[in-house]
């Protein structure tokens, strides 16, 4: 059972890490009007990210589904409690999903510019809010879990938010916002690097390259501030035998020293992100920065999430009632379900393989303005 709990936390963390990488779609959309100077540029950017948005969207849905299947108490507590936080995130993704297809179509009711602004809204707010939500894994949230409530015939709800803000209070914690903005700038960096790699347009590439530094500096400052503070702050430890949760000084620092391989993953990831950024800045011809930076992002986020949930750590701490905090032990599905789903998860490499194959088939040649004129289906 312990192996399965850790295995599923790994899979959920991996999906979360892939989601952050795939938010290059959001990042690129957030700079549509900054990078583009004319209609051709806008069309190139939107059609470039428009060929990937479904993967980001699907990863978000699967991340939710996997969390539901493996840690249903998180699904119940976080989504039911932090109602507004999740609703706003979802709403921005709905805006995005329709905007690609509708923005260039005749009769779209709201006009092309409105739909493009929807893409920018999703591009800015989704990374900030998702980053903020992830930060609560380290900083805690205000909820109470009381399973005994199930026998209260009048109000049998077992978990609820401890105040009336329904999750918006997460945005009052500056450290949540700091990670939120760090994720936004990271998404913008990844988006710019992706566009440089995916679009064959020299003017656009030149302007994109110039934007990398402006986003890299705030990203590094914010991310390092969050990371260092997290390592130095108190963390939330769980006794695996009793389930008792306590505050432990330097818990996340201890997690990295106890799990050296997680620290290594984060270090390699940071090196990858920095390599992608720095080489793009110093070389005028280098356009493949999305790959080291993207893989690096996956590794860093994976490492951070493993640090939040492994090594007897409460991954969703409660600031309202410490003993309500969620751990991979008290919030997981039954052994039968985790094992059954583990068999299903063996298909994931095949899924990844066909995604890579299909992606390469479509992206063998970078996107050009001529292609948009020739293609039957463009956004």
């Amino acid at each position: 059972m312990i192996f399965l709990q850790h295995y599923w936390w790994f899979l959920v963390s991996l999906l979360g890490a892939l989601l952050v990488f795939l938010m290059f779609v959001q990042g690129a959309n957030s700079v549509i009007f900054r990078l583009g100077t004319n209609e051709k540029d806008y069309k190139l950017i939107i059609n470039s990210t428009g060929r990937k948005w479904e993967l980001t969207f699907t990863t978000l849905v699967t991340f939710g589904g996997a969390f539901f299947a493996s840690f249903p108490l998180f699904y119940s507590t976080s989504f039911g409690g932090a109602y507004w936080l999740w609703m706003i995130i979802l709403f921005t993704f709905v805006l995005q999903a329709v905007s690609y297809e509708f923005q260039s179509k005749l009769g779209n009711l709201l006009g092309q510019t409105t739909y493009r602004r929807f893409l920018v809204v999703n591009g800015v707010f989704a990374p900030i809010l998702l980053g903020g939500a992830v930060a609560t894994f380290f900083n805690g949230s205000n909820f109470i879990v009381q399973k005994a409530n199930i026998t209260d015939l009048g109000a049998p709800v077992i978990s609820a938010w401890a105040n009336g803000s329904n999750g918006l209070d997460a945005l009052l914690d500056p450290w949540n916002l700091i990670l939120g903005f760090a994720v936004l700038f990271l998404a913008r960096i990844l988006g710019i690097l992706y566009l440089m790699n995916n679009i064959a347009d020299e003017n656009l590439r030149t302007r994109a390259s110039a934007q990398v530094l402006g986003n890299a500096v705030p990203f590094l400052v914010l991310f390092l501030a969050f990371f260092i503070r997290t390592l130095l702050k108190d963390g939330f430890a769980v006794n695996p035998d009793t389930g008792f949760i306590s505050v432990e000084p330097l818990k996340y620092f201890h997690n990295l020293t106890d799990m050296w391989y997680v620290a290594l993953i984060i270090l390699i990831g940071v090196a990858g992100v920095l390599h992608g950024i720095v080489r793009t800045i110093i070389s005028k011809t280098y356009i493949r920065g999305i790959w080291p930076a993207g893989i690096g992002t996956v590794l860093v986020v994976l490492g951070l999430l493993l640090c939040a949930g492994w090594n007897n750590t409460a991954y969703y701490p409660s600031n309202a009632d410490l003993q309500s905090s969620l751990t991979i032990f008290n919030s997981c599905s039954s052994e039968f379900t985790l094992r059954t789903m583990a068999y299903v998860s063996l298909l994931i490499p095949f899924v990844l393989a066909y995604i890579v194959y299909a992606w390469r088939s479509i992206d063998r040649k970078p996107l050009t303005a001529d292609e948009l004129d020739e293609n039957n289906h463009t956004y």
Partner: protein
């Protein structure tokens, strides 16, 4: 629980589900139709079929995104608005949603991009494969979500664990392959195919009415009508099987759908109030002309005892947890015994009175009649279209084009009515006999739900209008056929 909160939460879920089912059926049906058309192109390399496929893919694309968008809201609403549900049965219910994501959504999302943008980038064979995999991905997705929905209608393959206060899966295949799920899958997916066929036939009729693209319209109709007739007949057959399942598992839903107050042997089927077919309901529900079908009053009469039993089960759960906390093993064993004895009525304990077991009768009754009436019409429609298309002496007439076009909204209304029967008819249950909606809900201020309901209503309606306008413009522009 706050009644206002329950009603608004139900309204929000119903709103999202109904909007979702405006877009998903076309994705399911049109996905297969355009795949068949591309297969024809693959075999004969006739550019006409390529253009025909591309036109229907354009219609598919306009509809696809908004179906995806409403779907994500639905998935997360299980957590945001039905958080108690998410814990109480998350061990079982989460699995189909996760499998749907891993197996179906990625397939759909990956290959839909190849389908739209790969015409000039990948080989003809790979493109055809991508088109089929997009349609198959959508169908597999429907399979898993309908497995989840069927489990709510007929919970099976699980056991209640009083230590974790939730139901836990014991038999995956009992959940994934139960007859209710199989019947529901074919019934729902085929109804989506019917919508796809009706849309293709209806739009083709419009072109014929306007005397444009005659070859394109007739060729599209030939594919769609065969497909539509097959699908509508399957919907009818699975509807019959579904009736048997509902009679066994959700007798109150059947009684409400029939407006049957008093149960009887040899029960009559009500066509509309005042017109009945003797013994037909017994035949449909039990496949026996003298079979007994319970009525609403009979089931309400049983309800009092079941509510009492349910409260005993819930009290026993409290006793069990208290005994365990105190380390009193003997008391825990006794409480567990009582819990097991009354567990089958557990959910009834949250109801206040037996009358709470009755779903809205008028809505369920008329939705059932609309569903079955339009379902019969659709069989006749596709049969008639095929007859006219393939009979040498018959010719398509102008009035037929108008009928064909009007059939588009009829197919949608039939599908919506079907879901009203399925979901309104099972109230007050979130999970049949196990968890009523008042015990499944999140603890929220009703104002929050009112605001999100209003936002979704306004936004989804704007998007629906936008989609219809875009579709109309796309149809008006017509296909780009080779000279």
């Amino acid at each position: 629980m706050n009644i206002e909160l329950i009603d608004w939460s139900r309204a929000q879920f119903a709103l999202t589900a109904m909007y979702h089912w405006l877009f998903v059926p076309l994705t399911l049906g049109l996905g297969i139709i355009m795949s068949i058309m591309e297969t024809i192109y693959h075999h004969n390399s006739d550019a006409f079929w390529k253009s025909t496929t591309q036109f229907w893919q354009k219609i598919f694309g306009i509809n696809f995104a908004i179906g995806v968008a409403t779907g994500i809201i639905l998935e997360f609403e299980f957590g945001t608005n039905w958080s108690n549900y998410s814990w109480f049965v998350g061990d079982i219910f989460g699995a189909p949603l996760a499998i749907e994501g891993i197996l179906a959504f990625f397939m759909e999302a990956t290959f839909v991009a190849v389908m739209f943008f790969g015409w000039e980038k990948v080989s003809k064979r790979f493109h055809l494969t991508a088109t089929w995999l997009t349609a198959i991905g959508a169908t597999i997705s429907a399979w898993w979500i309908l497995v989840a929905n069927s489990w709510m209608q007929h919970p099976t393959g699980m056991e209640f664990n009083p230590d974790t206060v939730r139901n836990e899966m014991m038999d995956f295949f009992a959940v994934a392959l139960q007859p209710t799920a199989i019947v529901k899958f074919f019934h729902s997916v085929m109804s989506g195919w019917v919508v796809g066929a009706a849309v293709v036939t209806g739009i083709s009729c419009w072109f014929l009415l306007k005397q444009r693209h005659a070859r394109f319209a007739v060729s599209s109709m030939k594919v769609a009508a065969i497909f539509g007739l097959f699908a509508s007949l399957t919907v009818a057959f699975t509807g019959d099987a579904s009736g048997i399942e509902v009679a066994k598992q959700q007798p109150m839903k059947l009684a409400a759908a029939e407006g049957l107050r008093q149960g009887s042997e040899g029960a009559a089927f009500s066509i509309v109030p005042g017109i009945e077919i003797p013994k037909m309901l017994s035949i449909l529900a039990t496949h026996d002309s003298n079979g007994y079908v319970p009525g609403i009053n009979d089931l309400v009469a049983e309800g009092g005892k079941r509510i009492e039993n349910g409260r005993k089960a819930i009290a026993a759960l409290g006793d069990y947890r208290a005994a365990k906390a105190e380390g009193n093993d003997a008391a825990a064993v006794a409480a567990r015994k009582q819990l097991d004895e009354y567990m089958s009525d557990f959910g009834y304990g949250y109801l206040q009175r037996p009358e709470d077991l009755v779903p809205p009768i008028g809505l369920t009754y008329w939705a059932f009649r609309i569903m079955t009436g339009f379902g019969c019409y659709l069989i006749a429609f596709f049969a008639a279209v095929l007859l006219v298309l393939y009979h040498k002496k018959l010719k398509l007439q102008k009035w037929m084009y108008v009928v064909g076009f009007i059939t588009i909204p009829i197919s949608y209304i039939a599908g919506q009515a079907g879901w009203i029967v399925a979901e309104v008819g099972r109230q007050p249950w979130a999970i049949q006999d196990l968890l009523p909606v008042n015990a499944a809900i999140s603890r929220l201020n009703p104002t929050n739900v009112k605001i999100t309901f209003s936002l979704f209503l306004i936004f989804f309606t704007i998007l629906l209008i936008a989609e219809i306008r875009i579709l109309c413009k796309a149809v008006k522009n017509g296909p780009e056929l080779p000279d």
